[in-house]
């Protein structure tokens, strides 16, 4: 039986095995990862390192420090911790990325610590992100990080491997996050709990690198220990795009002379030539196989409360709209209109309340006068006045588009199709009545005059 990609990568990083030993799921091995990343918890790993009794780092190019978790905390204790970590890095020649560089796992990928076929670990659960670049990224814990600093190795059991086949293409408006949310919500019976996941299928080629990183990253929440994508053209193009960044003078962080950060185009070409080593054998055995058609994925939101449930966006929006309407009706009654709100009052509820409060105790005449004024300014009063005196006093242009025909007629006293209606004398028949005029047609008499009886 052939080897899965996970087994191959684990085999390449196994320490102390006789050459040619094949590593399989379930085996306990000692691994020598390419890198081990620690973030703010470096501050907790340093005392462990000292407690082990170690004084020197086994391979100074192996650890990487990237601070990202508690960076908004500018208390003296936290800043002192960061200085301590930076000093430790300087003392032992370890690459250091200060707070503000970015999310530690993203920094690891962008600064070239993660290569296809490499095993990179971190003392953080989201190390799975490295799988986007066809590497085996898996979490270890603080004690393991200290062990790796001291000896270069730690113990690891190769997990069972799950194969996830992605087919088809994402529909417009659907992104990588929706894919992994769907996977978490659809396969929510712990199908991949403590497994390593390999993504295969023609759908993978349709996923850009950003989608792969998002999907790989959230396999942690799905319960997986790794989420690995294959090494294909998309990966190749991404790696090539990073090469110029490594010689950028504005590149963040401090690296030692022996740093293994970054790669060259020659390295990339070599990996591409040997890419069979970085892909699973055709007859590899998997513990479980899952399939997802990307075209059927609809945007979802995880939750409530856990990633094993999800709500589709259309349904979620409906719920939100309905909830809001219900709350509005509960407050304001069935019509949903806001109380006391009339056009012409400048300022909102708060300023009106402030006005009322600052006015103090008001006598009954004042109150009646206020009330009368509010009435005079109200929409209904204006409409009535308008109806009596003519169309242009009080009518506003914006009403035209906002109300339906009968409402318009009530408000303006004429059907919408006519520009003008007033009581006047018809020039034709000399009778006084309501005349409807259209400005562009210049019609000045009722239709019986326009269409004289035969």
């Amino acid at each position: 039986m052939g080897l899965t990609l996970i087994e191959k990568i684990a085999g390449r990083h196994a320490d102390g095995l006789a050459p040619g030993t094949v590593v399989r799921s379930g085996d306990f091995i000692s691994i020598r990862p390419r890198h081990v990343m620690t973030h703010d918890n470096t501050g907790a790993v340093i005392p462990k390192f000292k407690q082990i009794g170690a004084t020197t780092i086994a391979d100074p190019a192996q650890p990487v420090f990237a601070i990202d978790h508690d960076i908004q905390n500018t208390s003296p204790e936290n800043l002192a911790k960061y200085s301590k970590i930076e000093a430790f890095a300087r003392e032992h020649g370890i690459d250091f990325y200060p707070p503000g560089t970015g999310i530690s796992h993203q920094v690891m990928v962008e600064q070239g610590y993660v290569a296809p076929g490499a095993m990179v670990v971190a003392s953080d659960s989201h190390s799975n992100l490295y799988g986007a670049v066809a590497a085996l990224g898996t979490p270890v814990v603080r004690t393991d990080a200290a062990s790796i600093w001291a000896t270069g190795v730690t113990w690891w059991q190769v997990p069972p491997v799950a194969k996830v086949v992605l087919k088809g293409k994402l529909s417009p408006g659907v992104v990588g996050k929706d894919v992994i949310i769907a996977l978490c919500g659809l396969f929510n019976k712990d199908e991949v709990l403590n497994y390593a996941v390999e993504f295969v299928g023609d759908g993978v080629t349709n996923l850009p690198m950003s989608a792969r990183m998002t999907i790989a990253n959230m396999t942690t929440e799905w319960g997986a220990l790794a989420g690995v994508f294959p090494f294909d053209e998309v990966t190749l193009n991404y790696l090539r795009s990073r090469v110029p960044e490594f010689s950028n003078p504005k590149r963040p962080g401090t690296r030692s002379a022996k740093s293994r950060a970054g790669y060259t185009n020659a390295d990339i070409d070599e990996w591409w030539q040997n890419r069979n080593e970085f892909s699973a054998d055709p007859d590899a055995g998997y513990a479980i196989e899952l399939e997802l058609d990307l075209a059927t994925v609809v945007p979802h939101v995880s939750g409530p409360n856990e990633v094993k449930t999800m709500v589709s966006l259309p349904k979620g929006l409906l719920v939100v709209v309905r909830e809001r309407a219900l709350r509005r009706f509960a407050r304001r009654g069935r019509s949903g209109a806001r109380p006391g709100r009339t056009r012409g009052q400048r300022g909102g509820i708060l300023s009106r309340a402030r006005e009322r409060r600052s006015a103090g105790q008001i006598g009954i005449e004042r109150r009646l006068a206020n009330s009368a004024e509010r009435w005079r300014n109200s929409v209904t009063a204006r409409l009535r006045r308008m109806h009596r005196t003519g169309p242009w006093s009080g009518a506003k242009r914006r009403d035209r588009d906002q109300c339906d025909q009968s409402q318009f007629q009530r408000a303006h006293g004429r059907p919408r199709r006519f520009c003008l209606s007033r009581v006047a004398r018809c020039r034709r028949c000399q009778r006084v009545g309501r005349i409807y005029l259209r400005a562009h047609k210049f019609q000045r008499s009722p239709s019986r005059h326009r269409n004289p009886a035969p």
Partner: protein
């Protein structure tokens, strides 16, 4: 297994929740504080999940939890805080592998026994987040635990786990290896 207690007896404290994440076990606001003493860490266990847990707990209680215990962030204190509290072991339906790593690396015993969890769920239908259960006896030598007159078997701990528990944690194990390597070099 040399160095292991052959059997453990205690009261069951049943934490009936699946997918109990490490934030529920040990809150995030304490995680990046490096100055917490073991006693302080033991005092804040499960505060996000059940504030009443620490009141119910008595020394020597065995915690039994649901499935996928310890999911989420890989914070080590989720395991060490329970160890400092004096809990002899945690039994769950299934664990997050990272949580198991943290436990073994600190010499804290955890193992899986899904049948026990299903049995307790049938028997203890209180509905409270934490309920006190019957006495449990765990026999490591025979890999059997008995509660309420019923026995359940559990898989014996993996070789790496046994080595770590016997050494008292990964730090001690690595330290002893380093010492033996230095002695060999001398």
């Amino acid at each position: 297994m040399e160095g292991f207690p052959s059997s453990v007896r205690g009261r069951v404290l049943f934490v009936d929740k699946d997918n109990l994440n490490t934030d529920g076990i040990y809150a995030g606001k304490h995680t990046y504080r490096d100055d917490m003493t073991p006693e302080q860490m033991a005092a804040v266990t499960f505060e996000n999940y059940d504030p009443n847990f620490n009141a119910l707990y008595q020394s020597g209680d065995v915690v039994v939890a649901g499935f996928n215990f310890g999911t989420g962030s890989s914070r080590e204190q989720a395991a060490t805080a329970l160890k400092y509290k004096g809990i002899p072991c945690v039994i769950a339906g299934s664990f997050s592998e990272t949580y198991k790593r943290n436990a073994f690396n600190n010499g804290f015993v955890v193992f899986e026994c899904p049948e026990l969890v299903t049995h307790l769920r049938g028997v203890m239908t209180d509905g409270a987040p934490t309920t006190v259960g019957p006495e449990i006896t765990i026999d490591y030598a025979k890999s059997i635990l008995s509660v309420d007159g019923k026995s359940f078997s559990f898989p014996p701990l993996s070789p790496a786990a046994q080595e770590l528990i016997v050494a008292g944690g990964a730090e001690r194990l690595v330290a002893s290896r380093l010492r033996s390597r230095q002695q060999a070099n001398v």
